[in-house]
Amino acid sequence: MLFPLTTSIYEDKIQLVNNSNQIKENTELDKNLREIAKDIRCDVLTCIGHLGVGHIGGCLSVAELLTVLYFEAMNTDPKDPKKPGRDRFICSKGHAGPAVYATLANRGYFDKKELLTLNQGGTNLPSHCDMNRTVGIDMTTGSLGQGFSCAVGVALGSKLEGDGATIYTLIGDGETQEGQIWEAAMFAASKKLDNLIAFTDYNKLQIDGTVEEVNGIAPLDEKWRAFGWNVIDVEDGNDIDEVSVAVKHAKLGIGSGRPTMVILNTKKGCGVKWIEELGAGNHNTNVTAEQAEAAIRELRGEA
């Protein structure tokens, strides 16, 4: 058995070599996933470029994760978005809303044209995720720390219903500074919510500078382990193969009696050079339509 009921298996970083069989089986799909992640990035650029401003950095850093979740891992149905017992994704770093919307649109939850309404008055796609406005969004998030607790509540709810759903949630590394994150971490471990798989978008940057300068969170893996979680450390969270394997590993933690944290070492603004180079400045920044078009050409390899 690949995963015993202890955390020892998670101690080392994911070794893709050890999983070559899995990767080989999925070559075709992986290729598609890579293209989908690119489409999501392009759509994020298009809608933020259309508006002129947005949380571009933290949207681009999670494209691979969203692709793997919605196109490979999660049991969801865009035709029946409220299907009982569905897997759920709660984007606790709610400012990544545009990336989630782009993913949902690519998955067929709603028309891609709607993406152009992002953050315009009256839109169903506000900057931060809103379960009462957007088809496919299962939790209202944006006040950092809270979505993570909500996800813990959802995981508890699923356990009580016995419906076998897996609850996925994403937090930011800056968000990790919120005390509520650790309240929820304790509770999830204490109540043995092993149906909860969380991800940290560990891009090392927050609004005021690097996370370590502002209020250091390292060593993150040891913290989560000490809080009673399985921990998977993904060396490159913007490598679709690594993310895909990590999610498969994380799923094997269901039944371990522990929730699982997947630490994704990512690059904020990943995929577009000038946005990456803005560093901490790319959290929420102006993006003109021309800049977005150029960035899309860069992503498509046409630059």
Partner: protein
């Protein structure tokens, strides 16, 4: 019977009838009176979050999004100002079905003193859109209210005095969450009162009647949304108003009544905590130092009538 015992007894019935009714606590089940329910429901419908109220509030929202009817409980300061953002965003803005029970409002925190004495909980929460604020006045009303609150989909803050309160309502009382109750009709002054001071307001009205002042006493159990119709009708009839509450005069029932009557040119006086923090003591002492006495209600009532 203590209010918390009635609250727990009602919750027990609701939980037995529906496994989706869940209760979250933050290490205060003994104070809230629900510890006795744990044998039957712990781990299936009752969960202790430990001393982590913010997490508790958001978990309740998560459970609500999964179809559960969530109740959470703590002392009033920790069920309001401490989790203000969680109530605003996880619960109210997200339109979740969560009942937030705060016990020991205002000076009833007694020996826990100033740190635990919420003079501001209604004020803090009243400006959160769509949130309902309910303060029961006796066991009869609480018993009638509990199933109604459970069935009401949305966010409600329940400001619960946990010890025994004298009954002011008869056994056949009909409860309407959004309708204030006229306890006594009168012609010279309208007294709007909520919570534990209601009996004191009735006693004051009796004393005033002996001096020839006829008071209408109305229990405003739901402070938000306030029953404008009843408040306006009574105030327009008597042309003088007194509010009485175990809360800061800023932000609570007094403010809600003033906002309702702002255009009416009717004098309004308020008995409440005069913008100060609490301190340790037993109720008689605390009533004295905060001015929440029958004598002060009588004195201020006369001032209100004199302003006509």
């Amino acid at each position: 019977m203590e209010m918390r015992a009635i609250y727990a007894e009602c919750l027990k019935k609701l939980m037995e009838a529906d496994r989706h009714v869940v209760l979250l606590d933050a290490d205060l089940a003994k104070a809230s009176g629900t510890v006795g329910l744990r044998k039957q429901f712990y781990g299936t419908q009752i969960f202790d979050c430990g001393v982590a109220e913010q997490n508790m509030a958001s978990i309740a929202a998560g459970l609500s999004s999964y179809g559960f009817k969530s109740w959470i409980e703590s002392f009033t300061p920790f069920a309001s100002r401490r989790i203000c953002d969680q109530i605003a965003i996880s619960i109210a803005y997200a339109k979740q079905n969560v009942k937030i029970v705060g016990t020991d409002p205002g000076i009833s925190a007694e020996l826990n003193g100033g740190t635990h004495m919420s003079m501001e909980d209604i004020g803090v929460l009243r400006s959160i859109p769509e949130l309902v604020i309910f303060e029961p006045v006796d066991g009869v009303q609480l018993r009638a209210a509990m199933p109604v609150l459970n069935d009401y989909y949305g966010a409600v803050y329940v400001r619960l005095f946990r010890k025994e309160l004298p009954d002011v309502f008869p056994e056949d009382y009909k409860f309407d969450l959004f309708k204030a109750d006229t306890l006594k009709t009168g012609t010279d002054l309208s007294i709007f009162v909520s919570g534990m001071l209601t009996k004191d307001a009735l006693d004051a009205a009796d004393a005033l009647a002996k001096e020839g002042i006829s008071c209408e006493v109305i229990n405003v159990h739901t402070i938000k949304p306030i029953d404008r119709e009843t408040v306006l009708a009574s105030a327009v009839k008597t042309r003088a108003v007194l509010t009485v509450e175990n809360h800061n005069v800023i932000g609570g029932l007094g403010s809600a009544v003033l906002e309702t009557l702002a255009a009416e040119k009717i004098p309004v006086k308020s008995v409440g905590v005069q913008d100060r923090f609490g301190e340790v003591g037993k109720l008689p002492y605390l009533k004295e130092v905060t001015g929440l006495t029958v004598e002060n209600i009588i004195r201020t009532a006369k001032e209100a009538v004199a302003l006509k």
